[in-house]
């Protein structure tokens, strides 16, 4: 069997093993075995690496049926990168899940289904199969979010279900329009057809692309489709939060990127750029106002996806590499942050930043991992966040929207100074304590759930150490890593979207750690400290609580969705 199809079949096999474990009552053993396919997938990906780097694309037709009617799976540079992301973060999350006894066969069954669904989405060439993959991903995600059966989890899961099902209906409508116009479902054939037909003759294709982007946009969670994410990611079980924030939103972003590239929808680039910048900025404002640790991190996921979207919308020579590299780096540091924050929440039984007992003394390794993640997301050299933000700076190249992203960087720094109280031991006296008392006394805008304190387990140290080292390594070796990304992505046809063709060298900066660039990071850090100081004053606290109180209801969320749909349709028919 071809290795391409094994990348999809293996996780399904893992899910089946977990299910058998449930039937024959051998849950602990078979739960562990059910995750072994991840190792197999990792090995396959390593084996394919040299060929993929040479620009080879492996194609496998399911059932031997050729393409106009059959379904093809393709492993090229893009598919390889996405699969590596899926396998790496899922493996880390599996280790973190082993640290708790609560997660048994049912959990691993759904988790492996989620992995399988993501593999289907990234490897398929067939747009209807992509829909099926998205639905496999979505159904497993709904189950995982509600897995602990907490009130918040159930409600968050239902909200996500209603919103994303509505999104996927529009996706399916887009698939219908494409099938009507092209008579095929293969993205490759559609790309060839739309390359020869002038854009002006394909008016309904614009509508189809807008519908597809909206459908995927709900999963990617940029504004105005972001409203489900903070609750879903915050109230999911801790390892699941890491997986959702780390991989799931990237996979849907990559799918959108592919669809835009296939139809050369360059008219969407300005919209994406501004949506990205606005998303980054507004989400960081909300993040700064949160006091629930995991909710704050969830808002940062939205904010960082805004960066990725803005970089992609810039359509410069660098933009594709910049967007991919920030998406990859974000996956590394955000899963790390969610895993440690989850451990901290579990150890102290509280989610409120002001009530969590700092874990610095009890689990120094976890605290150290958290500091690495926080420095990465704040863009402090030499960690990876700094490197990819450098790339984004060059990609945006003094575009007016860059100002918003710069302010976002300040806000990110400030809010991570705020979160650092979950790892650093608190000073016993002084003004900080008074503020803490003041904040603890204030009633939160929404109930912050508490649970019984429990040990975070030993296994959680493995993913934290591995992810922390990767954050550092991808930051220090930023230039080779981004050159590798560029050479993997350039032959895949995704570059068709950017203005300079894939043949042009995406001018990767020669050095990421020059003195001038280090100095350039300094004002952001200083302003971040100032901003944090500002939020701890009484007016700052009041303002933060007012912002935190704004929580859209389900109906508003759905209306946001319709607004976003109108936005995309307007961009298509401008």
């Amino acid at each position: 069997m071809s290795s391409v199809v094994l990348l999809v079949v293996l996780p399904f096999a893992g899910a089946m093993i977990a299910l058998v474990g449930k039937l024959v009552r051998a849950e602990p053993v078979l739960s562990v075995i059910s995750t072994v396919p991840l190792l197999g997938m990792g090995a396959l990906l390593v084996m394919q690496f040299p060929a993929v780097l040479d620009g080879a694309a492996f194609t496998y037709s399911l059932g031997g049926w050729p393409e106009p009617a059959g379904i093809a799976l393709t492993l090229d540079g893009f598919g390889w990168l996405s699969s590596v992301l899926v396998v790496l973060i899922s493996t880390m999350v599996v280790f973190a899940s082993f640290s708790s006894r609560r997660y048994r066969s049912t959990y691993f069954f759904v988790l492996m289904l989620l992995v399988a669904g993501m593999q289907v989405v990234v490897l398929t060439e067939d747009i209807f199969t992509m829909f099926v993959g998205f639905e496999i991903v979505a159904i497993s995600a709904y189950v995982l979010i509600a897995f602990d059966r907490t009130d918040e989890g159930l409600l968050a899961s239902l909200k996500y279900l209603l919103l994303s099902s509505m999104g996927i209906l529009f996706f399916l409508f887009g698939v219908f329009l494409l099938y009507r116009d092209f008579g095929t479902l293969s993205l490759r054939i559609m790309a060839e057809d739309s390359a020869t037909t002038p854009m002006a003759e394909m008016t309904s294709v614009h509508l189809a692309v807008a519908a597809l982007c909206v459908g995927i946009g709900v999963r990617t969670a940029f504004m105005p489709f972001h409203t489900w994410l903070p609750e879903a990611h915050a109230y999911a079980p801790h390892p699941v939060s890491a997986l959702l924030s780390g991989v799931l939103i990237k996979i849907s972003f990559f799918a959108m990127l592919r669809i835009i590239a296939v139809f050369r929808a360059t008219y969407l680039s300005d919209l994406l750029l501004w949506i990205g910048a606005a998303t980054a900025f507004l989400a960081v404002v909300w993040a700064l106002a949160q006091r629930d640790a995991k909710r704050l991190l969830a808002y940062h996921s939205i904010s960082q996806m805004g960066y990725v979207l803005a970089a992609f919308g810039a359509t410069s020579a660098l933009s594709l590499t910049a967007a991919f590299s920030h998406a990859m780096h974000h996956a590394l540091f955000k899963s790390l942050l969610f895993l440690v924050a989850g451990a901290a929440v579990q150890m102290s039984g509280a989610r409120d930043l002001y009530l969590i007992r700092p874990i610095g003394r009890r689990a120094p390794l976890l605290a150290f991992g958290f500091v690495v993640g926080a420095l990465s997301i704040a863009g402090v050299p030499p960690f990876n966040g700094f490197a990819s933000k450098q790339l984004i700076t060059s990609a945006l190249d003094h575009h007016p929207a860059y100002a918003l992203l710069w302010i976002t960087a300040v806000g990110t720094t400030a809010s991570f100074i705020k979160v650092s109280r979950i790892v650093l031991p608190r000073r016993p006296a002084g003004p900080a304590l008074q503020i803490t008392k003041l904040m603890t006394g204030l009633r939160s805008a929404h109930r912050v759930p508490v649970s019984e304190p429990a040990s975070a387990g030993v296994m959680i140290h493995i993913p934290v150490v591995v992810l922390g080292l990767l954050c550092l390594a991808t930051g220090v070796f930023a230039r080779p890593v981004s050159l590798l990304l560029a050479s993997l992505l350039s032959p895949t046809g995704l570059g068709a979207f950017t203005t300079t063709s894939a043949a042009g060298d995406p001018a990767i900066p020669a050095t990421f750690l020059s003195g001038a660039k280090l100095l350039g990071a300094l004002p952001v850090l200083l302003l971040g400290v100032l901003l944090y100081a500002g939020t701890t004053t009484v007016p700052g606290t009041r303002l933060a609580r007012r912002i935190e109180r704004i929580m859209p209801e389900l109906r508003t969320i759905l209306l946001f969705f319709v607004f976003g749909l109108a936005l995309f349709a307007a961009a298509a028919y401008r």
Partner: protein, 113 residues
């Protein structure tokens, strides 16, 4: 004409999803909108021929079988989503004793305290 009718069914489903506060009705509205999309495919497929796409004596032009095959999958996926949604609604109902989403949201976040 049929196109407009299917479009109206779809919009009715979307409207119900947004406007109705009752969770069961929301799920049913989702199902209605889903059916409209399925009808889009099936109706488009039915225009391409006049007999069933089964190997026969060759009388008449068979319809394009692909939309029908696709919609079988879409129906199955839709059933899964609706089943899961109803499961979640049931859980919420047993805890809060109401199906009104506004009331459930208020109770979960305890906003009116």
């Amino acid at each position: 004409m049929a196109w407009y009718l299917i479009g109206a069914i779809f919009l009715a489903g979307v409207w119900g999803l947004i406007a109705l506060p009752n969770l069961i009705k929301k799920v049913v509205a989702l199902n209605i909108a889903n059916s409209a999309i399925i009808l889009f495919f099936i109706y488009f497929g039915s225009l391409s021929g006049d007999t069933a796409p089964i190997m026969g004596d060759g009388a008449g032009t068979p319809v394009d079988p692909l939309p029908q095959a696709l919609m079988l999958t879409a129906i199955v996926v839709g059933v899964c989503v609706v089943a899961l949604a109803l499961g979640l609604v049931y859980r919420l109902y047993t805890r809060y004793g109401t199906l009104d989403i506004r009331e459930i949201e208020r109770k979960v976040w305890k906003r009116d305290e």
